[in-house]
């Protein structure tokens, strides 16, 4: 499975824009052959990280190492054709020049991408109804995004990064993209990174998740583990407060005498039973809610 997949390893990775950190000492490991979600709010550093991983820019500090798919010793991607030919970063519309016709963009990709699959590209262009004889500047935003998705999938690159590629696509097109992604990934497993803030849409596609906030790593975890990490607790305010005293409280809301708290932590069955008999309702917290709470501007975890 890993023969066609790259692994990524960053250490102390920092990027600064005019002295302001965009990425702040990131230590990351992306396992080969998985679909990773790169989640963060706007301005959290997702795009900067994607650009550094793809060798589009150099880190100011620390390092990125890429390994696998014929690369036996870990290498930095920047200015290294051996590595970058195996990495495909698709930003919104695939960085295609405006004056270029779609069919020329495809030929260019074919000449640059060692694992390019023209049949797949043709099939996907049909599915997304992208006209190949038009110039890029004549395409609607949705079609540009769709072309980006096609270029990324058909590259079959051992590390393929979609940086909010699907933002311009409407809901049915995004669904078609997710379908195509899963189907082709099952056929040719490779390392895929989906950078997005549309968490609920992609959560079932992901195996591992990286959450960034203000350039820092909030957490890196398998999705299943993350799903079990939060709980919502609802009941009489006083009882909720007593129960949640030993947990990290991510958020709380009050309505009259009733209080709802979102906590981080493992709730074992004994604890859940104890809470239930105290009159509390315990519920799960979805990935999207957990994401919202973990990246909230002011964390309520620091309450006294």
């Amino acid at each position: 499975m890993t023969e066609h997949a790259l692994s990524v390893h960053t250490e102390n990775l920092s990027v600064r824009f005019a002295g302001t950190p965009a990425l702040d000492r990131l230590d990351l490991r992306l396992a080969p052959g998985k679909i990773h979600g790169l989640l963060g709010r706007n301005g959290s550093g997702k795009s900067t990280l994607a650009a550094v991983l793809a060798g589009f820019r150099q880190p100011d500090e620390g390092e990125v190492r890429i390994e696998g798919a014929g690369i036996s010793t870990p290498l930095a991607p920047y200015e290294n054709a051996v590595v970058t030919s195996r990495i495909c970063l698709i930003r919104e519309s695939g960085d295609v020049a405006d004056s270029l016709q779609v069919r020329h963009a495809l030929l260019l990709a074919e000449s640059l991408r060692p694992y390019w699959n023209a049949d797949l590209a043709g099939e996907l262009l049909d599915r997304f109804e992208v006209p190949t004889n038009k110039r890029m500047q004549k395409l609607s935003r949705g079609k540009k995004s769709a072309l980006g998705a096609v270029l990324g999938l058909a590259s079959r690159a051992p590390l393929t990064i979609f940086d909010e590629t699907y933002l311009g696509m409407d809901v049915p097109s995004r669904a078609a993209f997710y379908d195509a992604l899963i189907t082709d990934y099952a056929e040719v497993p490779r390392t895929i990174v989906l950078s997005t803030h549309l968490v609920s849409e992609v959560s079932t596609l992901l195996e591992d998740v990286v959450i960034l906030d203000n350039g820092r790593l909030v957490t890196q975890s398998p999705v299943d583990a993350l799903r079990g990490r939060g709980a919502s607790i609802v009941g009489p305010a006083k009882v909720v407060d007593d129960f949640t005293a030993e947990f990290t409280v991510l958020a709380e809301e009050r309505l009259g005498g009733t209080k709802s708290a979102t906590v981080l932590g493992d709730l074992d069955p004994a604890l859940v039973a104890q809470a239930a008999s105290a009159g509390l309702e315990i519920g799960p917290v979805g990935l999207q809610d957990l994401f919202v709470h973990l990246t909230a501007p002011v964390s309520k975890g620091a309450r006294s």
Partner: protein, 120 residues
């Protein structure tokens, strides 16, 4: 099938397949979808689907034929039915009685309804 946030998706996949076996939608010794087919159909990560299937193999609900795929175990239906019978009163009947008491439905009405509905 719509997955909810109540539990890991692989467990929900396993539950759904178990349900299909209990209701007879999946027959014993019938081949189940491959994990990749399943992943594409429900738009989920293939590794997640594989985890759900692996759990069912561990529990003896499915068995593997090398190079062919996965099949429903010959005794799977009995196995699952016995398992669910164990929890039936605690999981299904007790909550109903609690609800009946809470909203003031006399238990004799409940029993009468069960007799009537069960006979029809």
């Amino acid at each position: 099938m719509v997955f909810d946030e109540r539990s890991p998706i692989y467990l929900q996949i396993a539950e759904q397949i178990k349900n299909d076996i209990v209701t007879g939608a999946l027959a014993e010794d019938e081949q189940v979808m491959s994990t990749n087919q399943y992943a594409a159909f429900y738009r989920i990560n293939p590794a997640t689907a594989a985890k759900g299937f692996a759990q069912l193999v561990d529990e003896g609900v499915l068995y593997k034929k090398r190079g062919i795929g996965m099949f429903v175990s010959p005794n799977a239906r009995d196995l699952l039915r016995t398992g669910r019978q164990d929890g039936f009163f605690a999981d299904v009947v007790d909550p109903m009685i609690r609800e009946a008491k809470a909203i003031g439905v006399p238990l004799r009405d409940v029993i009468q309804h069960i007799r009537k509905y069960g006979d029809s």
